[in-house]
């Protein structure tokens, strides 16, 4: 077996080791390269900036623990921003497996910012039905969620004053890791009930949401860990996303180098095989 053939059949554990080191080392020794802000992320940030104090901001945390590394930093940044702007925050989740995590992040950020449950924010929790919950909220928010996550009746909560349905929401952002997520919030929510919508999603989902972005159906998109890092940069608040960008840079570069190497070995073995074929003939 030649060197190129051996390299093409390299033990995958070596690749695992390279990726592991590329993730671990930058986390231990961060470089902190500058992060450029994209128009998509700025769209969400600028819209929240433009909202007057007391506006209603709905955050739907539609993800489960599998997507926590990417979407958790996004939710922290958005909640910090909304609370800093003194918006009234309505949080919920359409993913049952993400309920506990969503409650924790909302409660934790609210506590950090000195916000009061029921007055400055409310966590509605989860309700069965997926997209039906969005329509139901559009028709009657109190019908969809008669009580919040802690069992307190939603009717009469100061944070929901003047809010009857999704039509009364000034801005909604869905942080989605799949379905139901950003697309469902557009199709079943924004399209009918006419509120402004932004999105956040995992890195792999982002390219699929660009048609919504380009047509103005959503006014901004926070894509993956990179999007979260951009938002943290805009907020001037270093968090887990900025810390993770060096690791992501290194792993991306490692994969690119691996792909280039495999192609070099592939073409080298192919030309060798061709030469041997000609010599044989």
């Amino acid at each position: 077996m030649t060197f190129t053939e051996r390299m093409l059949k390299i033990d995958r554990r070596i690749i695992f080791l390279v990726i592991g080191l590329c993730t671990l080392l930058p986390l231990l020794y961060p470089v902190g390269l500058p992060i450029k802000i994209s128009q998509e992320v700025r769209g969400v940030y600028d819209h929240i900036e433009s909202l007057p104090e007391g506006s209603t901001f709905l955050l739907s945390l539609d993800f489960d623990p599998a997507s926590k590394p990417e979407l958790h930093p996004q939710s922290i940044s958005l909640l910090h921003h909304a609370f800093r702007k003194k918006l009234r925050v309505i949080a919920l989740t359409l993913w049952v497996s993400g309920t506990g995590m969503a409650d924790q992040v909302v409660t934790q950020v609210a506590r950090e910012m000195g916000k009061e449950n029921g007055k400055d924010y409310v966590f509605l929790g989860w309700s069965p039905g997926g997209t039906a919950v969005i329509i139901n909220m559009g028709q009657d928010l109190y019908g969809a969620f008669p009580a919040d996550y802690n069992g307190k009746p939603t009717k009469g909560l100061p944070v929901l004053q003047g809010v009857q349905s999704l039509r009364d929401v000034n801005y909604a952002v869905s942080l989605g890791a799949g379905r139901p997520g950003v697309e469902e919030w557009y199709v079943f929510g924004r399209d009918k009930y006419k509120f402004e919508l932004g999105g956040g999603c995992t890195g792999v989902m982002a390219p699929g949401l660009y048609p919504l972005l380009r047509s103005g159906q959503i006014n901004g998109l926070i894509g993956g860990l990179r999007g979260a890092a951009e938002y943290e940069t805009l907020m001037d608040q270093k968090g887990k996303a900025i810390a993770g960008m060096d690791a992501q840079s290194a792993t991306h570069l490692a994969i690119i180098v691996l792909v280039i190497m495999c192609n070099l070995f592939y073409f080298s073995s192919r030309s060798r095989a061709r030469q041997q074929g000609q010599a044989g003939a």
């Binding site: 690749i15 599998a66 139901n136 969809a144 592939y266």
Partner: protein
């Protein structure tokens, strides 16, 4: 019996399909009230569907354990995990934390479910890298185009890539905003037209596979 199993579901589908397709365009309060009521039904049905799903899962794995089929041990673990979580969840009133103190249910959620799901997803990074090395080869012109586009986007999406090749950020944005968005939109329009066609077929009873194929 055929009337109840075939004609009645088809009639319900026809009426509700036409009424709710039309409802979207009628903003009258009565029409809106009807939608409110129906979405409440949908939420209730969604809750029952959850119970149905869990009971079906119990049944499938009970059969596996009873027959001692291959991998029945995993089914047993699933049973123990699910029954344990349900019992503790009910005991904790479905709450992960009460007044800031973590409940037993919260402990299961935070120290079992969260790390297990995160680990499963994180492992993907290693397999993607290994798969990319083994199969991402420029065997044809199309594969070469895909490879170049992937490398540009990968470079442009991380600060190190933009630092090494400053143009990669703008190039990657152009690929995502122009090439990707237009192709995705074409696919989306195609899928949407297909959905409309399928909906019409279901409403008018031309597509009946959802009724199941049981004995009549």
């Amino acid at each position: 019996m055929i009337f109840l199993r075939r004609q009645v579901p088809l009639l319900i589908t026809l009426i509700t399909g036409l009424v709710f397709a039309g409802q979207y365009y009628v903003p009258h309060p009565a029409s809106e009230q009807m939608l409110t009521s129906v979405t409440k039904w949908l939420q209730i049905i969604g809750g029952f569907a959850l119970v149905l799903g869990v009971s079906s899962l119990f049944h499938v794995h009970a059969v596996k354990i009873r027959r001692k089929e291959a991998g029945w041990g995993y089914s047993f673990v699933l049973y123990v995990g699910m029954l344990g979580t349900i019992a503790i969840g009910l005991w904790s009133n479905g709450k992960e934390a009460v007044d800031g103190a973590m409940t037993a249910f919260g402990w299961i959620y935070n120290f079992m479910m969260v790390p297990l799901q995160s680990t499963m997803f994180a492992i993907l990074a290693f397999f993607i890298a290994s798969a990319a090395y083994r199969s991402f080869r420029a065997r044809s012109r199309e594969a070469a185009v895909l490879l170049i586009a992937a490398v540009i986007v990968m470079m442009g999406r991380v600060p190190l890539g933009e630092y090494l090749i400053p143009l990669s950020g703008d190039l990657s944005q152009w690929i995502l905003n122009v090439l990707n968005a237009s192709v995705r939109r074409a696919i989306l329009i195609g899928v949407s037209l297909g959905t409309v066609a399928l909906s019409i077929k279901i409403i008018f009873g031309m597509e009946r596979s959802y009724l199941g194929g049981g004995k009549e």
